[in-house]
């Protein structure tokens, strides 16, 4: 157990690094995902097609392949950035596909009558989407979006092993392989670290869900 106590600052650094990845990827994927969802419900068929093609590709291939793409292919094409940002970019691009679907399902969960009513009083597409559909969609989107976000937090662990480094899992890896500490104790530290991120998020989202839920 002394491994945990002695290296608590290492674990703490790793924890912060993981949080950093998560926050950037959260912002990136929410923005990209919302844009994609807008594309998919827009009246322009090419945008719809592009959106659905993107979602189909992303949802059916692993995050590791996306990271393989951003981490190896982009630099080979002359797009150089710090590895951290390549990783965050990959995680954002991947999660955006799922965010898009969550938001779209929220839009679809708004009863048709709402859109019809909005249209019948003469609101335009933009107005009915922005003032009638979206405010309601965001509420019913909380549960699915929440599970996407939690999954993203867990997926952030993959970045560390892919070479971003410094996050919780790679700290664990270093302690085991370089310094030969007992595996199970290190595991406990890493496990608790991730639970300290995912469980509170889950609880928060549950609260939020109850707060904004609308009874239909």
């Amino acid at each position: 157990m002394s491994v945990l106590v002695d290296n608590i600052d290492l674990f703490w650094e790793g924890f912060l690094r993981s949080l950093e990845i998560i926050v950037f990827a959260l912002v990136g994927s929410l923005v990209l995902g919302t844009v994609l969802a807008m594309m998919r419900v827009s009246p322009a068929p090419p945008l719809q097609r592009f959106g659905s093609l993107y979602v189909a590709l992303v949802r059916n291939s692993p995050l590791t392949v996306m990271l393989f793409f951003t981490a190896f292919v982009l630099p080979a094409l002359g797009f150089n950035a710090e590895f951290f940002w390549l990783g965050v970019l990959g995680l954002s691009l991947y999660t955006a596909g799922f965010v898009c679907e969550a938001i779209r399902s929220g839009i679809n969960a708004v009863p048709a009558g709402q859109a019809e009513a909005a249209r019948s009083i003469g609101l335009t597409f933009g107005q009915s989407l922005g003032q009638v559909i979206m405010p309601q969609a965001f509420r019913s989107v909380v549960p699915p979006l929440g599970s996407v976000i939690i999954a993203m937090q867990k997926n952030s662990a993959i970045l560390g092993v892919f070479g971003v480094g410094g996050d919780l899992l790679s700290v664990g890896n270093r302690l085991i392989s370089a310094q030969g500490f007992a595996v199970s104790v290190v595991f406990l530290g890493v496990w608790v670290g991730y639970l300290a991120i995912t469980l509170p998020t889950g609880a928060l989202l549950g609260l939020l869900e109850r707060k904004v839920a609308i009874v239909r």
């Binding site: 827009s42 009246p43 291939s61 969550a102 048709a112 699915p144 939690i150 662990a157 664990g172």
Partner: protein, 352 residues
């Protein structure tokens, strides 16, 4: 489609506008693609020696490469199959235990499920690759991967099944108990089989997640040669990351789209065999109209219960609806309104 709800059938002005938007967006997309292609051309990414070992059957290395790729596909599928089989078995056991025990007794199970669910699957795979050898369990890396996947997915599947049981009409359980079955018998012979059927699409989309997650095997030092590892080897040998990435995406997407097709097919079969039971069922015209819109919206919302089978309208036949058919119907509709089902069965979960 859902989108038609958002705007009217377009008039001349709207059509013109949407044509303009379409043309502009096509131009933008094509422009981006052209820029990317130009960039690729500049980098010499179109030179045939980067592509032909992977995609051109006439190439000297093609047979060797695809032999390796075949190994990768086999290992990926084998690992996924083993993980889903184990996860199903454990998942059923966990759900049964949880539902059989009283409030206090099930606490440890609930805690364990929540803890495992909140852990990244990659962490579980990593440590099953480290802890098992440290404990002196001499399994090869394939099984280390499978165990890591199973630890995570068995609790996910347990939750899917629990959502399925919860979504069943209460009458099913009550009827079981009423005819004198024990709680366990009711659960295993009446509730579980139905929950299983109800959640089959969700289970298959979990299989898609598992297939994707096998690519995490790379984290185990000398992990099994699944698709991603083969890809790494190819990249190292030919030095063509872009082409390998494209190949990997094609392979994974093909496998997973086929699996999703299977899910849709199975689902349709199930709903067909269900509707055979209630094929005499007739609904009046208003209800058909209501039901079809509701169905469209539901399948769009990512819910798996697309019983979009249209019932022939026969006015005035409402009285022939037998109350017995009701459970079948509601058992089929785990709509997005069912919060619990949403959280666990949404195929939109990025896995991991």
């Amino acid at each position: 489609m859902s989108t038609s709800v958002l705007y009217d059938a377009p008039g001349p002005r709207a059509r013109r506008r949407s044509r303009i938007i379409s043309v502009v967006s096509i131009a933008v997309i094509l422009g981006l693609l052209a820029a990317a292609a130009w960039r690729l051309g500049q980098q010499g990414q179109f030179s045939p020696e980067l592509w032909s070992p992977l995609f051109w059957p006439g190439d000297d290395d093609f047979v060797t490469v695809w032999g390796r790729v075949g190994t990768g596909i086999r290992n990926t599928l084998l690992a996924a199959a083993a993980a889903i089989a184990l996860s199903l078995a454990i998942g059923v056991a966990v759900t049964t235990t949880r539902l059989m025990l009283g409030r206090g007794g099930r606490l440890p199970v609930v805690v364990l499920v929540e803890l495992l669910r909140g852990t990244p699957v990659v962490v579980l795979i990593f440590f099953s690759g480290k802890i098992l050898p440290a404990l002196g369990v001499g399994l090869d890396t394939f099984w280390q991967l499978v165990i890591g996947l199973t630890l995570y997915n068995s609790v996910v599947i347990a939750e899917i099944l629990r959502a399925g049981v919860a979504a069943l009409p209460r009458g099913q359980r009550e009827a079981g108990l009423a005819i004198g079955l024990t709680k366990r018998q009711t659960l295993l012979t009446i509730q579980m089989p139905q929950a299983f059927r109800l959640m089959l699409p969700a289970l298959i989309s979990q299989l898609v997640v598992i297939v994707k997650d096998t690519s995490l095997a790379g984290i185990i030092l000398t992990g099994p040669e699944e698709l991603l590892r083969i890809g790494e080897q190819l990249r190292n040998f030919f030095g063509n990351p872009l082409q390998v990435a494209i190949l990997l995406i094609i392979l994974f997407v093909t496998i997973n789209v086929l699996l999703s097709r299977l899910a849709t097919y199975v689902e349709r079969k199930l709903s067909e065999s269900r509707s055979k039971v209630s094929s005499d069922l007739d609904v009046d015209a208003d209800q058909v109209a209501d039901a079809t819109t509701a169905d469209d919206r539901r399948t769009d919302a990512g819910d798996a219960s697309g019983h979009g089978r249209r019932v022939r309208a026969r006015p005035g036949a409402l009285s022939r609806r037998s109350p017995a058919s009701r459970p079948t119907q509601s058992a089929n509709s785990v709509g997005p309104d069912d919060r619990r089902a949403w959280r666990t069965t949404s195929p939109d979960n990025p896995g991991g």
